[in-house]
């Protein structure tokens, strides 16, 4: 019998779970006590022996207990059936356990991933948060098909729960991008817990943040500039320049010995599984946000036994996806329709949709010019607001509910020839883009998303041209695709924002239906991308769900979210007398 180390551990965990099930309810702390000791046993064979002992202890205790029934079984029939079931399964598991134990001696166990603790060198960490942070690395195989290919170190931060003792089964937060850093924001994450009684695990996915590898250390800025140039002017020259920057990056990466096949969601999921093993976490609660939902869904599909609950916040829809411009257009139309229904907004901006279209036409003829701070590194510190850049800017603002009250006013101002309000928006968008690992973004998306190998339709929007069409065909070969956990028993909560320009509620609802009966779907009005971050109600629902995934969460607060308080049109300046 060939039993891998992982299987051994999993079997021990199952035995311990069975032991907990057998113990009378009043003794459940003892069940936890026995089970948690497993987490501290380095050796799998020792863990299995321990778990077998736990089963024996539970049966001894159960037999000595005056309580006649087993959990979840009531009545005389339940007593007979319960004991028969318990005896049968207990004996069966003991038999299997001893059979496995006999094979222990001959096994060569692969090394277990470990968390190597380092000092925490993180920004904005206040003294009250510092004691709760544990920073370190987990080494993962570069190539899961080739154990000799070496390792990448992933940066990992554990945030201990503020209330101690923390509950078992931590939360692992999987952020978006792909290509966005995470651990650098640990201080923020510590202040906004997902489930306040549980530890939180943060991982910089391979190729992002402080994790290895940095695919193109010298070319990230060029990629950013090339992408920005495409936003500013949709020309073939701009697209060629962008493609050249990506291909130079690819060549640089390959020249440094990187195999671009070692990226993609399926690889990232394997990395997360190694992190779970490093912490000896039996099951964790998975919180995926934006692209992180892609990883979370694939993780649930491949490792369902390791996931206690899953929250999918703002689902990045799986392929096949429509053109991004059509998704954004749908979100923009929903926002304009809401403005038309709102008294203040419709009074000040009677036909916002038409104003927006007129603005695009005007900018197409006469771009406006705004000045950016020098640190934005734009030529002459000036940027031409073209129709394309304006379209990109508005779609970016739809991500953020705090931009909604002023968005109609901003559109009107630009329409009227005043783009000065745009500087700060553009500066913050550029700053945000500069934090991304764009090479990792391409490395993952080009493996995951076959549609980027298709031709763009003629006349495609700037939003589509900014995507990786024309890049992926040259970047790497397609990899195994991400998965949707169709029919999974893992309790799953799906959150969607009304004006989300990436994850339209209809699309998220469709994914929830694919997942099946275990999925609960909640839509939040007046919210964009990343529900939990912008909605205290969403955060509360998610936290309740994580603590009690088997129960239907109370979602009534989603019906009481305060409407957008639109700012009215700026009155025309008084004329000089």
């Amino acid at each position: 019998m060939n039993v891998s180390a992982g299987r051994w551990r999993r079997f021990a965990v199952k035995l311990a779970r069975h032991a907990a099930w057998v113990l009378p309810g009043a003794r459940s702390p003892w069940a936890d006590a026995m089970r948690r000791e497993l987490d501290y046993l380095e050796d799998d064979a020792a863990a299995l022996r321990w778990a077998l002992g736990c089963v024996a202890a539970s049966y001894k205790t159960r037999l000595a207990s005056p309580l006649p029934t087993l959990p979840r079984m009531r009545g005389r029939v339940g007593r007979v059936a319960g004991w028969r079931h318990a005896a049968t399964s207990g004996v069966l598991m003991l038999f299997i356990g001893f059979a496995l134990l006999e094979n222990a001696g001959g096994q060569t166990e692969p090394p277990r991933p470990v968390f190597k603790e380092t000092t925490c060198d993180l920004p904005n960490v206040s003294p009250d948060i510092r004691p709760r942070l544990r920073c370190g690395t987990v080494s993962v195989p570069r190539d899961y098909d080739n154990p000799d290919a070496g390792h990448f170190k992933l940066a990992v931060v554990v945030i201990k729960s503020e209330q101690q003792p923390s509950w078992p089964e931590p939360v692992v937060y999987i952020n978006g991008g792909p290509g966005s850093p995470l651990t650098v924001y640990a201080a923020y994450q510590a202040r906004t817990p997902y489930a306040p009684r549980r530890d939180l695990i943060l991982v910089d996915q391979r190729g992002t943040g402080r994790s290895e590898p940095n695919i193109c250390p010298d070319l990230e800025r060029k990629l950013l500039d090339a992408n920005f140039a495409i936003g500013a002017t949709v020309t073939e020259e701009g697209l060629d320049r962008r493609q050249a920057a990506y291909l130079a990056c690819r060549d640089q990466a390959i020249g440094r010995g990187l195999d671009l096949r070692n990226f993609g969601t399926r690889v990232t999921v394997e990395d997360f599984e190694r992190v779970r093993q490093a912490f000896r976490v039996e099951r964790w609660n998975v919180y995926g946000e934006s692209y992180g939902t892609t990883v979370a869904m694939t993780l649930v599909a491949l490792y369902p036994d390791t996931v206690r609950s899953a929250v999918l916040d703002s689902i990045y829809p799986p392929d096949p996806v429509p053109l991004w411009s059509t998704i954004v257009s749908d979100a923009r139309d929903a926002f304009f329709a809401h403005c038309a229904r709102d008294k203040v907004c419709s009074t000040s901006f009677p036909d916002l949709a038409q104003t927006y279209r007129d603005t695009l036409a005007r900018l197409d003829q006469n771009p406006l010019v705004v000045t950016l701070p020098p640190q934005m590194r734009q030529a002459d510190d000036r940027v031409r607001i073209t129709a394309s850049l304006f379209e990109v800017g508005v779609s970016n603002l739809l991500y953020y509910p705090n931009a909604y009250p002023t968005l109609p006013r901003m559109i009107q101002s630009v329409h009227d020839g005043d783009a000065h309000g745009l500087e700060s928006d553009l500066a913050s968008q550029l700053t945000a883009a500069a934090t991304q690992n764009l090479a990792t973004h391409a490395a993952v998306e080009c493996r995951d998303r076959p549609h980027f190998r298709a031709q763009l339709p003629v006349g495609a929007s700037v939003l589509d041209r900014k995507q990786l069409y024309g890049v992926c065909g040259h970047w790497s070969e397609p990899g195994p695709q991400p998965l949707v956990p169709v029919g999974t028993p893992v309790p799953t909560l799906v959150l969607a924002g009304q004006f989300d320009p990436v994850a339209r509620p209809a699309s998220s609802r469709h994914v929830a239906q694919l997942i099946g009966a275990s999925a609960r779907f909640v839509e939040f009005p007046f919210i964009g991308h990343n529900v939990r971050r912008f909605s205290p109600c969403g955060a509360r629902i998610a936290a309740d769900f994580i603590d009690h995934p088997a129960q239907a969460p109370d979602t009534s607060c989603a019906d009481r979210i305060a409407p957008i308080r639109f700012l009215p049109r700026i009155p025309d300046a008084p004329r000089d007398r």
Partner: protein, 100 residues
């Protein structure tokens, strides 16, 4: 004849281990290694001693990141008293054996 409670060889070994460092909180695996008792024997004993008020327990935070709190144990005042009595009895029995 009814068995004398808490006088089995395993219980005495456990009480002796707990008495040895009576102010230290001990966890299950540690006690198992020291006494040679397997978890299947150890935990029913711990549960029984706890229910008799001879043992106190609590959850202890761990310094190792990502790991859950651990259940730890130490003797109560009555537990220490019983353990000492048993130790004295054992010493007396040894002496009696030596004199015989």
């Amino acid at each position: 004849m009814p068995r004398k409670p808490n006088n089995s060889r395993q219980t005495r070994a456990l009480l002796a281990a707990l008495l040895d460092r009576s102010q230290t909180w001990r966890h299950g695996y540690d006690l198992s290694k020291e006494t040679g008792l397997r978890s299947g024997t150890l935990y029913p004993l711990l549960m029984r001693l706890s229910e008799q008020g001879l043992l106190e327990s609590r959850w202890q935070e761990t310094e190792r990141p990502g790991l859950p709190p651990r259940h730890v144990y130490r003797l109560t005042a009555s537990g220490r008293s019983l353990a000492r009595d048993q130790e004295l009895a054992a010493i007396a029995a040894e002496r009696a054996g030596a004199l015989a």
